[in-house]
Symmetry: C2
Subunit: 232 residues, 2 copies
């Protein structure tokens, strides 16, 4: 138990949301933090209108970039919609400004790329979705293998479902292991994947090739976009 | 690969949503099914207005109970908001009507209780969130230990995060193991929980006692509600 004591009284946990955010990137850590008593959750975007997540489910932001108070933790989830944000001045400015005051600056999945183009991973070890780890060095970050990578106050998670492991680790760090274990139990998080296909290191080669094929167009566009942004 | 072939062309996967639904109960299987090409996802509720999930995040339903077409799969997620639905005639009628035509009738977490009060688990083996398994016999179901329990076309998952394992198992069953493995890889589902606290069987006793304390009021109210409903 650290100085924050038993519960997250008035701990402000903010999640950037955007058109094309991957719902599960967001829902994992959000539910983990949401079960800590006293944590205030915020979903932050430019406007308060409904935004479509990558699967089409519509979400309602609770706060706008310009009027969101200083957060204790900012988490940037990923998803196909992250790409248009990588050079978006309003979003980059918001993230940079929050970064000055947050206790933890974090990402899940390809959300790390936004922290990267904001210059906030320069000199840090980090991770992202397995399909995007090769992009980290161009952002000044050192890729470190691992489902959750912590370097000073930057905490980055791997792809999508890594957000659950990430959330539990952070809750343990901030409010103690007992709090994290209570949350894990409430969420019945005793995973039992039917296959060993959760990472290219363990998936059958044909499965990795097929998944890479599915992601090929997106990856090429993303790499091209980053080249342009980093040239400027 | 079964008769449905390579992809989920026009496969209708519907999720009941409601005020107080647990977002992660929903987001896990929804993202798993959403990565199968051709699957049509629907979020179904009485009205199309925004509804608050248990953590406060606002969701927008896509379909109404009365006008939702026949689904291929119906999934009822859980959450604190399931209780008011257990005796709700409009909801029970929707579930019973869909049950006649679906290929799979499913639930995650305490969603099983709604299938139960609709009479649709009578004579079936099933599971639910660990805190609610003791209620299954009163609904005519036999509790079977396991993260995902399949009995004929009823597939029930344990608490919250079990929805991910559930989704992958069903995708494997419907569209084959390669499809399920591709989805698992896309979601980077190689879980690494920091503690062994995901189930009362493995959690430290004090953690289970604390979590049971947190849930005590809700459990008592739910048991009382079920007694009243089943007396009528």
């Amino acid at each position: 138990m650290n100085a924050r004591g038993q519960a997250g009284t008035n701990f402000q946990a903010g999640f950037l949301v955007f058109p094309g955010v991957q719902l599960l990137d967001l829902a994992g850590p959000l539910e983990v933090f949401g079960l800590v008593p006293g944590v205030r959750l915020r979903l932050i975007w430019k406007a308060l209108e409904l935004i479509p997540s990558s699967s089409g489910v519509l979400l309602k932001p609770s706060d706008q970039l310009g009027s969101c108070p200083q957060l204790d933790l900012l988490c940037v989830p990923g998803g196909p919609g992250i790409d248009p944000l990588l050079g978006d001045k309003e979003v980059l400015e918001f993230v940079r400004k929050q970064a000055e005051g947050v206790e933890y600056l974090t990402s899940v999945c390809t959300g790390a790329l936004l922290l990267g183009t904001a210059g906030l991973l320069r000199g840090y070890r980090a991770t992202t979705h397995w399909s995007a780890t090769a992009l980290l060095p161009s952002l000044g970050a050192t890729y470190q293998s691992g489902r959750v990578v912590e370097d000073r106050n930057r905490v980055t998670a791997g792809g999508v479902t890594a957000g659950i492991d990430f959330g539990l680790r952070l809750v343990a760090k901030i409010w103690g292991e007992d709090q994290a274990q209570r949350v894990q139990l409430r969420l019945e998080y005793r995973p039992d994947p039917p296959f060993q296909a959760g990472h290219p290191d363990t998936a059958p080669r044909r499965i990795t090739e097929q998944a890479e094929q599915e992601l090929a167009t997106r990856r090429e566009r993303r790499a091209e976009l980053l080249r342009k942004l980093l040239d400027n």
